[in-house]
Structures are given as structure tokens and as C-alpha cells.
Symmetry: D2
């Protein structure tokens, strides 16, 4: 099982990344930090005659990584009760890939699984639920099973290591991933 | 009551804009199309020693408009069951304004009201609810009353005009806005 | 199209019933007030050897009405951010009908449509959304399309008539129902 | 800290009770099985001249237990994507206590904390979220902090013991409760 992590955080070594790293300790995987890529917001041209224009940025590179892995971990801090803009910009562009004749995008995603790791500072296990529900619809739209999620609490750097429950959940997920290797 | 519309759509004259225009017919207001602005995704530097670096883009210009109006309409299509990346990029940057000594950002927003107009093609009155809940938390965080929302259904250009319920709700909102002038 | 209204309210002529009556003005339909029926809470015997015991109450009578109509309107006030206990007691018992050899319960419901009318006094268009999401899962489980919903605001008797938006939505629904006759 | 568990399940030794028992191992507490009590659905008489009539059932007994404990655990299986009718009937009656001059009901609850333990058989970590959101509003209305929740997966008796994550979460909660003694 080839694992890809999409990091949505905008800062280095934030709580979400720390928790994700814990979950992936000793597990072979590919990591992409979306903040290190240039990805334009979508320009919705679904209804334009010529369809979508090609965009000269890093979207294709990320998408090729997505398509060549089996298990996708969406790792994003809760920014304003949603995924980060970095991640949203990326996901919005999927609309373009759905029309892209180079891929069978939806069919391909439908053979993968998705997982979400997120942390936030303001009651994330309650106020992060609309984000989980959003991911639920996103994954369901492309037919990709939602294998699970972890919500952690943290604000200042490294807070997350004191969230015993999130840490324990990351360890359980880690063991599960290892058993799948 | 000074009204500002933030358009999150990435295309011209889409369903969300049409519905919003209907709601604002004959109502003086300012419009900003976020797609016509350059707004970088946030770089979270809340915990950096020097705080946030200034960013040379159109964020400040939009935010000054936000701060000088009383009633904010967030008009966004449902993209992947959330607000558009254009709008998310903008809202994420509020974290920067919260630390910006030029403004009393939160206090100022707390004296405004917010409204959401959104449309989508995939059961938006059900699958758009996590987005409404996200806005609920966003507005609540800054103490800005959530005056209401309209969810419309449409996919192809102008579909929205056949959503009788959304059209009627836009008219009721229009009359309400006029009565506030 | 044979229409059945299940009234979940515990009082006479409350806001939810008023709004529902408005929606049904001039539309032939059957009404059941669950508060006038005796319906025991479920006793979950799915895993008991002998299965469910028969219960001597009005559940079967209501269920036979459900099965012989095509369009089901669940009309319930928002009590503590959910459907009323009267209605929940009824819906919980569906677990029993799923095992009842007299019916093809799920298949039968899957050929109907469902609609929800609800009112509440505490920001119902926001705080009533978990209830809508619950109904979404309930209807989806039995394969019954969720045709729509109306959320109204009201607390004291007849408040609802001042909720112009809910009244207008009820009228649109009324016209739609009439067109289906 | 005096702990009260309200069991909403309708069967003996179901998955929710098992998970709850695990969480409470070695922790002194009071248990009430709502299925063993007779609690009528609410009759909403808030707007009746004489207010609520007294009801001769076990509601008062349960409520006195609620009022004399500090930490309330709502333990309910997910029935049709909500709390059980047994539990909903009980909670609905709080409307009566809010008007009951014998108690300062809301003030009293505002000094307690609430916790939710729930299990379900159909993707409970996703489809149980509206229930968590409902509890969030319920507790918020009475000003009672929502200390946390555990969602477990199980259908057939004892399934829950194979849900390693829920079991681990119950143990963490158990240690937390013990530390509060």
C-alpha cells in the first residue's frame, strides 16, 4: 500500500504535522507540503466552450503523486473551521482533473482510500466536525472510502504532544498502517 | 447600512452571482470579486518571534472595504462542499488581521452582520450544510451575528433562475435589505 | 400521490402544525398526530433468539398508514435540537419493522419520498441543521429520497405566521404538491 | 466529583453499555437505566395558562439524581442516527424542569459537566456526528461544558470490544476520571 501525505499546513513543524509524523513513524510514505508548491485557485471553465485552459503550476505534479498512491492522508490544521486555503486550492482543482482526458480521475480515486488528520485550537472535536463532514462528501463524490480521521487539540507549537487521546489514536493508526505494509 | 458583497466564484456570471444580484436588485452596495484580486494563502506566523510579515497583495484593500461596511454578504458557490479557495484564502488571512495593530479587527467585525448566499449542483440544501455550519463558527468567533443564508441549486449557467425557492428567498432578502436603507 | 403527515408535536395548534397546515392547504392528505397514539419506545431485540416480541400499541396502525401512502411529511418541532420524543419513539420502532416478515419495509419505503417541516425558537435555521442531517441519514438508510425541508422560526403560539420566509416556502411547497395531484 | 451515567440503551449489556462500563471500571458512580424507568414524552404546556401539569412517572426521580451529581455521562446507542427514544423522552422533559420552581434547573446544570458515549453499526464516526452536534447544542443551552465524547463501532453484542480505538479512548477517559476523584 503506497501512502501519500498531503500537508496543508502553512507553517513548518506545526501541530498537525507533528501528529501526522507520529502516525507515520516507521511507515514508508511520500510527503508533499502544499505550501511549497504553487497551486492557483480554480478557474471554473466547466461550461466554457473550450473547457479548461492548462495552468502552468505544480498542480499536475501533485496530482500525479495522488494518482500513483493507494492511501491518501489529508493532513490539515483547522483554519477558520475548514481545511487550509492551500489544501482547498488544491482540492478545488480536482474539478479540472475530472474533465482531463489524460486521466480517469474519478475511477482512479475510487480505488484508493482517504484518511484525515487535523488539529485545531478551538474545541476541534466539536468545531472541526463540519470539516469532517465536508471531507465525507468530497470522498464520497469520487467514490473513495473514508478510512478514518483523527482530530487533535493544539494551538502553540508542540501542544499536540499533550493531547493524550490524539497521540494514542495516532499510535493505533500507526500500527494499522504497519500491518497493511 | 453599508453593504459589501464578497464574491467567491471563479467564473463570470455564475449561478451564485446571479442569485446574489437578484437579492441586491436596487440595493446600493459595494461588490468585490475575489477572483479579480491577488490574495496569497496565509503563512501562519502567529508563533514566530517577529509575528506576521507584510504581504504585498490585495488583501489589505479587501479588508479595508470589509471594515468600512456594516453588512457583509459572503457569496460563494459550493466547491467541493466548501467555500471556494478564493474565499478561503481571503478568510484564512483574517488570522493575520487579528494580530494587526492597525485594526481592532475582531471588535470591528463584531459590530457588523454577515449573510451567506451559496449555490451548488449536488443536493446543496443537504450537502451545503457543513459549509453553513463552518460559516456559523467563523462568524461566531469574531462575534458577528449570522443574519441568514440562502442555498440555491444550479449547475449549468442560469440554472438558478429555475430554483423557484431560492429566487423567492432572494426576493424576501431583497425587501428586507431595502427596508434597512 | 397519496400524502401522509406525521405530526410530532406534543401540543395542539403549535407553530409546526400551523406551518404544515399552510403547506397542505387545499391538498388532500391524511394526518396522524403521534401524540394521540400510544407508541412504546423500542426494545431492541434484534439479537434475541426469538427476535422482537409483538407490542400491543398503536405502532402497527401508524406504520400501515405509512406503507399505504407515497409521500411522507415528517412535521416536528425542534425539541432540544432534535425531533420530538413522540416522533423518535415512532422512528426507532422501524428497526422492528425491518425484521417484520409481514412487510418488505425497506423496499416499500424506498418507493416513497420524504419531506421535513420543522420549527424552533432558538436560531432554528442554524441549530436545526443536525436534525436535518439526521433525517438525511434516516431516509438514506431506507433508500427514500429526501424531497426537501422547511425550517421555520417561532416560539410563542402563532409566531410562525410572522416568519415570512417560512410562510413563502410553505406556499411554494403547497403549489408543488398541488401540481403533483 | 460525583458521576452519574444515564443509560439510553433499550437492551441489556449492549455495546454502548459495555463501552461505558469499560470507561467506568473502578470509578465510583451512579447508574440509571432509562429503559427501567417510566418516562412519558413531554406534553408541551409552556404556553398554557396554568403551565405544566405534574406527571406521575419516574422523571422526577431521574432528575433528582441528575441534580445531585457533578458529571453526567449520556450513554446511548445511535438509533436511527440519534439518541434513543428513551433518552430523548427524558431530555425533552427538561423543558418542564426549566419552569419548575422547585429547581434552579439551568443554573444547576451549568455547574456540571457532560460527556457522551455512543456506539453504532453504520459508520458511527461519520453518521453519528449530527448526534454529537445535537448534544453540543443541548449542553450549550443549559451552559454545561461538553467535556468530551467517545464514538464506538459495533452492531452484534460485544462487537465493541474489537473496536480498538474506542476501547483505548475509554481507557484514557477512565484514567482521567480516576485522576478527578
Amino acid at each position: 500500500m503506497k501512502i501519500l501525505v498531503l500537508h496543508g499546513s502553512s507553517r513548518d513543524a506545526g501541530n498537525t504535522e507533528q501528529l501526522t509524523n507520529l502516525a507515520l513513524e516507521g511507515v514508508p510514505h511520500t510527503s508533499i507540503r502544499l505550501r511549497e508548491k504553487t497551486i492557483q485557485p480554480i478557474h471554473d471553465q466547466r461550461h466554457d466552450e473550450g473547457g479548461f485552459n492548462a495552468v502552468a503550476d505544480d498542480y499536475d505534479e501533485v496530482t500525479e503523486a495522488v494518482l500513483t498512491h493507494d492511501f491518501l492522508i489529508f493532513s490539515t490544521p483547522i483554519y477558520w473551521y475548514g481545511m487550509s486555503g492551500h489544501m482547498k486550492n488544491y482540492v478545488d482543482r480536482w474539478s479540472q482533473s475530472l474533465r482531463d482526458k489524460r486521466y480517469s480521475f474519478k475511477e482512479s480515486l475510487g480505488q484508493k482510500q482517504a484518511y484525515v488528520i487535523t488539529t485545531g485550537g478551538d474545541q476541534p472535536r466539536l468545531k472541526g466536525l463540519p470539516l469532517i463532514q465536508q471531507f465525507q462528501y468530497v470522498f464520497s463524490f469520487v467514490g473513495m472510502p473514508f478510512a478514518g480521521y483523527i482530530i487533535g487539540e493544539g494551538n502553540k507549537p508542540s501542544d499536540i504532544m499533550s493531547d493524550q487521546r490524539a497521540v494514542e489514536e495516532a499510535k493505533i493508526f500507526n500500527a494499522w498502517l504497519k500491518a497493511k505494509q
